[in-house]
């Protein structure tokens, strides 16, 4: 019986991870296909990307809270339907951006709830699920800019994902665990600190990551275009496994501090950058599970809190430029590591 349950959980992780790649691929395919069409001003493009970010990241706490209260809602499948509709209405960018933003939010909440509820106290599952998104963003951007991929290809892929989600994930929702239980944080840390400090760490990391990425001029060359996405993918995927085996605090603090040195001083080298970005992203599953540990019955809301924190760090990058990005990045990364140091437990799982 236990073996059967493990196979169900493993299958759902595979489906959610593949679908995550396809969902982020489709979103960025749409955004960059629109951006590359040249039918709009730069201001409109910025506004479009900002509107997408606010919709996709900002609505997740609300959708997550709703899904925690209504467990049987097939929110990830609804997300895929909304994304297909968004791609169908690509000729009308405002409607399309609203639909893909909402669809993306719904899918992430559904997948996030599954990866937290069925993790068995381990951080690896959430790291694996989230990692595929980074690759999807990179490949989707490339496909959107290329302009040769017909829109029915991502629509077909999403339709296939919806079928797989119904076949392997939705019907097992009722048997999935009720609570998402993690012991990642220090026993003496209070509820407020455990929610607030990782959220600040995520927001600071989101801002710092955006400013250092803009510094890497080599990323526009075709050979290195996917390097940042590949680094983020490797970091997120391995971060959970490492945190489970050697302890959350060690991974979060050492990966952030070492990435601050690598990225602040050697951002001009693609190879140093890919290692730095991987280290920089390793604490993503740690922060997610830390917040989820104090809200065990609300994994959807926990997932949403982390995405709202990402949005808070991302929005300022649309309106301001930073004078000395490397120094600011190094300082902010240390601040992010300090925030986690105060609340995370050092024990291995």
């Amino acid at each position: 019986m236990a073996g059967e349950v493990n196979v169900v959980y493993r299958n759902s992780l595979i489906v959610y991870t593949l679908s995550h790649f396809c969902v982020d691929f489709s979103c960025f395919f749409m955004l960059f296909a629109w951006h590359s069409s040249g039918t709009h001003s730069d201001k409109a493009a910025t506004l479009g990307f900002l509107a997408y970010n606010v919709t996709a990241f900002g609505l997740q706490p609300l959708i997550g809270y709703f899904c925690d209260a209504h467990r049987k809602t097939p929110v990830e499948a609804i997300g895929c339907f909304l994304l297909i509709a968004g791609l169908f209405f690509m000729q009308c960018p405002a409607a399309s951006i609203a639909l893909i933003g909402l669809g993306n939010a719904c899918f992430h909440v559904g997948g996030g709830i599954d990866c937290l509820r069925n993790a068995g106290g381990k951080m690896a599952r959430s790291g694996v699920f989230v990692s595929a998104g980074a690759l999807g963003v990179g490949v989707g951007t490339l496909a959107g800019k290329g302009g040769s991929l017909p829109v029915y290809v991502p629509m077909g892929i999403l339709a296939l994902c919806t079928v797989l989600i119904f076949a392997f994930c939705i019907r097992h929702k009722e048997t999935s665990n009720e609570k998402a239980v993690f012991s990642v944080t220090k026993p003496e840390a209070g509820f407020g600190a455990i929610v607030f400090l990782p959220s600040v760490s995520i927001a600071v990391r989101s801002f710092a990551g955006s400013i250092i990425l803009a510094q890497a001029a080599w990323r526009t060359t075709p050979a290195f275009f996917l390097f940042p996405a590949l680094g983020a993918f490797l970091g997120k995927a391995s971060g959970g496994f490492l945190a489970d085996s050697i302890g959350a605090r060690k991974v979060a603090v050492f990966s952030l501090l070492s990435s601050s040195v690598l990225l602040a001083f050697w951002y001009a080298s693609p190879w140093a950058f890919i290692i730095g970005i991987a280290l920089f992203n390793m604490n993503m599953p740690v922060t997610l599970c830390a917040i989820a540990s104090v809200l065990p019955r609300c994994p959807g809301l926990s997932f949403g809190i982390t995405t709202l924190a990402l949005l808070c760090g991302n929005v300022p990058t649309f309106f301001m430029s930073v004078a000395n990005p490397s120094a600011v990045f190094a300082v902010l990364t240390v601040v992010s590591a300090l925030c986690l140091c105060f609340v995370l437990d050092g024990k291995a799982r």
Binding site: V54, G58, L62, V294, L295, P296, R297, L301, L311, V315
Partner: protein, 56 residues
Amino acid sequence: MKKYKRINNTMFDAGGPLVLLFIFGVPALIIVLVVGLIVLTVKLIRTARKKNDDEG
């Protein structure tokens, strides 16, 4: 009088973000939206915490 006051307040609340949009532009509107989402999320966290504590 009280009724009209309530209607006026509601109208201002609904139109507030639009007024901001026309006066300060898109950045102000986005900031208002994000701050609104943060406030709403904090309320949800409080409710969820209470629910978690009640259910054990």
